[in-house]
Amino acid sequence: MSRIKILVVDDEENIRLLYSEELKEAGYDVMTAKDAFDADRKVAEFNPDLITLDIKMPGMDGIEYLRKFRENDKTTPVVLCTAYSDYKKDFKIWASEAYVVKSFNLDQLKATIKEVLEKRGISDED
């Protein structure tokens, strides 16, 4: 039985660790990437079912990366993680799956991921 694969993209190591521990505990396969370039490699290598994407990163930021990513991949759901709540408008433009405001409490993130996956009919493969 292969589990749902999630790629966590964030420039901060501690955040990557927190996310991967929490999401692994929630039953997902987790890989991490530290920037947009790294994310591209990991997507190719790992072929994730869902990506959590930090917005504020050095180099290419999350929104820019999302735009680029969508040029090749129209389907893989992406959940944007932001420190702000005013990216609403940008989400409308880029039509991302969802966004969550970053919090130390990851319950909201996990709930959103679950919701998105269910909507897409992605579940643990039999």
Binding site: L18, E22, F104
Partner: protein
Amino acid sequence: MKVKHHGEEFIEQLSGISLSRLYLQDMLDRLTTSVATVMESNVCALLLLDDSRQTLLLMSSHGLDKRADNTVRIKVEQGVSGRVVREKRTIAVNDVRTDPDYHLVPETGEEWFLSMLAAPIMDGEECVGVIYIQNTDQTEYPDSEIEKLSSLAKSVAGSIRVAWRLEQTRRKAEVLSELNDFARFCSSTNDIDQITSTIINYASKLIGSKIEAIWLTSDDDSLSGSHYPESVGDIEWMRPIREGIVAHSFRNKEPVRIDDINSETRFEGLDRVAKCSVLCHPMVFHESVIGVICVGDRKARDGEYCYPFSGEEDNTLAAIAQMSAEAIVRAGIHKQLAENLNEHRRNVKELTILFQLSLAMQRTISLDDLLAMILSCVTVGEGLGFNRAILFLHDEGTGVIKGKLGLGPSSGVEAENIWMAASEGRANNRADLAGWLVKSNFAEITKSRFHQTAISYETSIHSQESLAKVLRNKKPLNIKGNGESSLSDSGLTQLLQNDQYAIVPLIVRDTALGAILVDNFVTRKEITDSDLEILTRFAAPAAWKIQNVKLLEKLASVNTELLNMERQMARVEKFLALGEIHAELAHELKNPLTSIGGFARRLEKKLDGGSDEHYYSSIIVNEVERLESLLTNTLEVTKEGSDSTLQSIDLNSVVEQTVDLYWRAMSEMGIRISISLAADLPPINADYSRIKQVIINLLINAMEALSKSEEGTYRMVEIRTESVHDNRSAVRFSVSDNGGGIPPSHIKDIFNPYFTTKPTGTGLGLSLSKKIVLLLNGVMEIDNRPGVGVTFSVTLPAS
């Protein structure tokens, strides 16, 4: 022999006389004395014919009244001497009382003498004079005596002729020298009065006249403006009357010479009583007659008798008239130039004042200061120099004209003090009138008594007061006073204690804003038309400036509102600036906080429920939770306000929905909730979620205040909405509690972000709410009653 002896002696004396270079008078005096001695007679007299050959002038006498010398004239058709001239022979009269030709000349005192022997003085074939002797007794002159006098007369003729010519030449030279002096004087002055008085002096001196008058042409080519010694003023014939001597000379451009006005018939206005001779000459310059000089009464040496003027004297007066004409014309041209120059100077002064005033006016924007400056300019010496001035303004709304400012002394003593103080202030730099004017102090001026008098005056624009008329007619008025003028109305005259003043209207675009009144209360100097003209020209720019400053003052009140708004905006700016810092800070804090909190939560989950480690972890989790909410709120404050979407909102429904959220929580705290919603509330243009946030913040604030009051006490929250109509339509909602209010020492800090007195509060609630309200152009107010409670109310503009 006695006769011969005397004859030899005489010849000796005569040759001495002839050879000496004596003046004519001395020579003749010696001659008559010698002849009297030689002839052994009481009297010897010598007469010479004048230029006209019609009159004999007594040149010298021995034994007669010497005052008659050079004075007495006898016509050739008169007396024994006349007959000698006519018949060119020696004539003896034994007893003058029996001689029909005898003509008594009383001036000489000859009435004592009865016999007379007179011989002609011949120059070749021509008789030039007569020499005669007189004796007190009746004497029949023997032939030898007759022969003797005849030969004496012949022998002296040559010497007399030479001396006479010499004398005439000397006199001519004297006259020429005097005329030269006169000419020099004429070119040395341009004062017309000085010139005319000098003409009169020289005429009197050179011609020997007793009375003189000069008449000059005026602009209309008639004679006017006379110049003569006052004593002549009422002599009719010297005046330019019709058909009179002066008018004739002027009209016909010709001189008039009259030996005796008693026998003159050509002219009118002659005084037939006084014996008088007259010379009158036109003063001609380039063919045109510019005046007439008239002299009269050729005076005798002692001033008692009058004799005709000689041809020489006539010529001298002609020369004087000619030179006078040139001098007077030149003086006239100079006077004209001087007047032009004065007018030019006045114009320059006027322009300078106007320029200085406009400079000064540019430096002031207060109406009071401007008015003070205008009146200072009107009264200061370097300015227009009036003693006092009042500025009246006309209120178009009420139609009332009121004294606004008065500048000047109310008495002479006060004048001195004021002007001395004023001149001290500007002694050093008189040119900088503008600088001094700028210092014109409204407050200082209003302390004066005259100002108090000035502002007590008011009248209607429709009244009959001269001030009202000036404003209605928009024309200046110069009231000359003299006590009875009908224009001089009692109101202002009473006010000023003076019936001589001028009023000039202040006009802008055909509207009279007011007027300036001036008078010369102290100096009593007449206000001339020229003064009034300058004041009128001065009033025009002053009126414009008053208008401008009035507009500016109106603008200033609008500006105050704008300034208030700007201050409000500045507060918003401050919040926004603060917000920028918060945003950066909050963002940097967010990630580490997420890590700390995240792992603390993981620890908390993994550790045993009762362990110290679990408890410590939970503390971290709680603290991070608080910090995170602080950060979230900060980011809300700073990032969202300006981006919020405005829409038309019904405030009542937001209030209702929001209160619903907290209804249960408040009820559980035992709080009684009272809601009062206005029915006619207009919609507002706002961001729904922001308004909701403000209401939530105020509700939470009230709940927290009430949580501090003791359990079981009466707790109350009242929520109201209402519409407000003051300047613009607005809506207001308020949240009141009875939680004891805010301590006065805290009140100034309550909108300060991060100020809080609550153990768990972040302090951002009220500050955030206030920012949102400001961004919506609203106002948040607090009605704080320490010990009772507090009401927060928010007023927002209706859409």
